[in-house]
Symmetry: C2
Subunit: 249 residues, 2 copies
Amino acid sequence: MRNLRLKLMYDGAAYHGWQVQDNAVTVQGKVEKAVAEIFGGHHTVYGCSRTDAGVHANEYYCNFHTGKEISCDTVVRALNAKLPFDIAVLECKEKENGFHSRFDCVSKEYIYKIWNREIRNPFLINRAYQYKYKLDEKMLNEAASAFVGTFDYRGFCSSGSSVADTVRTVKKASVERQGDLVIFRVEADGFLYNMVRIMTGTLINISQGKIKKESLRDIILSGSREAAGVTAPPQGLYLNKVRYKEGQE
Amino acid sequence: MRNLRLKLMYDGAAYHGWQVQDNAVTVQGKVEKAVAEIFGGHHTVYGCSRTDAGVHANEYYCNFHTGKEISCDTVVRALNAKLPFDIAVLECKEKENGFHSRFDCVSKEYIYKIWNREIRNPFLINRAYQYKYKLDEKMLNEAASAFVGTFDYRGFCSSGSSVADTVRTVKKASVERQGDLVIFRVEADGFLYNMVRIMTGTLINISQGKIKKESLRDIILSGSREAAGVTAPPQGLYLNKVRYKEGQE
């Protein structure tokens, strides 16, 4: 059996996230349908992450097993012809049999885009969260440094998650401004359910004075969902980079 | 009577261009509907340009006359609340009575975005034209310099136009690459019907070797629509900047 890994890019606006669900249109569902059309019959496609409804991906990896000898270049072209326009296959690579898109991932980077202007941007509807009060990106960049380190992040996890181990190592966290866009960027070995959206909401609450910048580390250590900030909406969130073990890129 | 000028930004994907037409959804129609809701009754809104179906605007000006004393700040807020999400009012300014968005304009800049990669970009569907063969942006930038000057541009005008004077002065014309995006930028005192799209199509025909780079000036001078290139599709085109006389900005 061959183990094919796909690199995707998708606009998540029209989807109920990655994972197949009953009565909902999902990215996994669309990819499995296209794979079935090319390779014949159902193939489970394993994703690197369960993105939420409305969340986007500049880079997303998934893999599936097949006995069919279709070249990787042809797989890319054939899948792109079958997939809807808002999902693109950027690459197909043959991996060793044990490779798994999710379990072999060593780190992920998300970005969260905030359109920081009172007037909306027609080109960023569903692609950024509009927040009209001026954000101080330098102050928020300092605040975000409190996220860096290995912590039990259970306070930054929405209920409904059944993950046993809530310790995560955040490698980088920063806030920058590009004109009227404010971008929160965070890299970690893994993320809990809604973790980036709660981090973003907490930064917004800091800019509102509802949470003190100096108390952010204590809030993380408290493990309390109530102490952390609101959950920012999904449309600003992008899975941006996914890193695999050396030799697995 | 007050003469109010609006600065708009819009994603043109859902519209049959600017101008009101029977049985078609247009930007002018949406703006006039919003103005009627705020100011009461029909007000003709004069636009700076007739953009085609599917064409976008990063900057677009229009004006209308009213006797109502509503502050410009309130006009911006109220219109944005009434308009669909893909049209935004960025600014409202009170102008002298004789001001007209179209006739007082001294130059316009358009950009045309080409997604120059075999694989589509899910975030640029309807927002760029995908052309998969590698474009040589340096060569095309040199070629585009032939557009600069005052010429009778009737060969770069689609039939159906009834403009008598087809002489236009192109002030700047350039091609640059930003990653996989190739951008054609052109500024002129005015543009004929489909002029930028035919210029873009001609540049693509030059890159295909169907038209010789060295013959572009002669093609312009020939005034022949057949000699010029194809009409590039609308979705890559953006009205980018509009300049008014000094004191009219």
